[in-house]
Amino acid sequence: MPEPEQNRTLLVFRQPPYTSSLSRSGLDTALAAGAFEQPVTVLFLSEGVLQLLPEQHSSKSGKRNHGKVLASLPLYDIETLWVDSDSLSDFGYVIDDLPDGAKLADRGKVEEMLACHDHVVAF
């Protein structure tokens, strides 16, 4: 009997880092999905794109460094970090400001991602 098709999940990150614990809970969910070999796609939208900015110095805020957690995603087989291109340009950044693995998604691509996954979970 063939293996049943796996559910595909899209995780959408909309929160900036450090202002609430939700951004971290979302990343933890991505890591857990990777650890349990569940296929997930990650998309950074709206203020969520700020999670990807390099050189985050979090020690004075007493919080764990968000950028370091993000950098560990490839170890969990999450290689591509999709970034909503409109959100990124709203904040005046370009794709070269972001870490390796970040890839721009235009409006059409975002719509396609929302449509083609079995589950969409937004943080």
């Binding site: 796996q6 999940t9 614990s21 939700l22 650890a35 569940q38 979970v121 943080f123």
Partner: protein
């Protein structure tokens, strides 16, 4: 249909948490399968037994507890979120040398793997809050 719920809303903020428990009650009443409810981030405060709710307000924790006792619904609090907010079962209270357990009946503490499993097993996963 097989459903799971992800609750991100705290019980004392907005109406997401109350909407979630009402939705859960309706699902079961209509004969759907509720595979699991997973409480993450601020949602994990739902399981806090030592929260004292004013008498003229709805005690949402009690609604969840009665859902679990009537229908055997699995209510899982993310362990990292629960500990951070002081929701401890007997095991965690002992492990972290805290004076008492503070978790409502009907809830269990578990890892994010249980959310990932719910994603894999359920036809629908609904998120409340966030």
């Amino acid at each position: 249909m097989k459903y799971s719920l992800l609750v991100l809303s705290a019980p004392d903020t907005g109406s997401g948490n109350l909407t979630a428990v009402r939705f859960a009650e309706s699902l079961v009443a209509r004969g759907h399968e509720l595979y699991r409810v997973f409480f993450l981030d601020r949602g994990a405060a739902t399981g806090l037994a030592s929260a004292v709710i004013p008498q003229d307000e709805q005690n949402i924790g009690d609604l969840w507890t009665s859902l679990a006792s009537k229908h055997g619904t699995e209510l899982i609090l993310c362990v990292a979120s629960a500990l951070r907010q002081g929701v401890l079962d007997e095991t965690e209270a002992t492990r972290y040398e805290q004076p008492a357990a503070t978790m409502l009946p009907g809830f269990e503490i578990g890892g994010l793997g249980l959310l990932v499993e719910a994603m894999a097993e359920s036809e629908r996963l609904l998120t409340f809050g966030g």
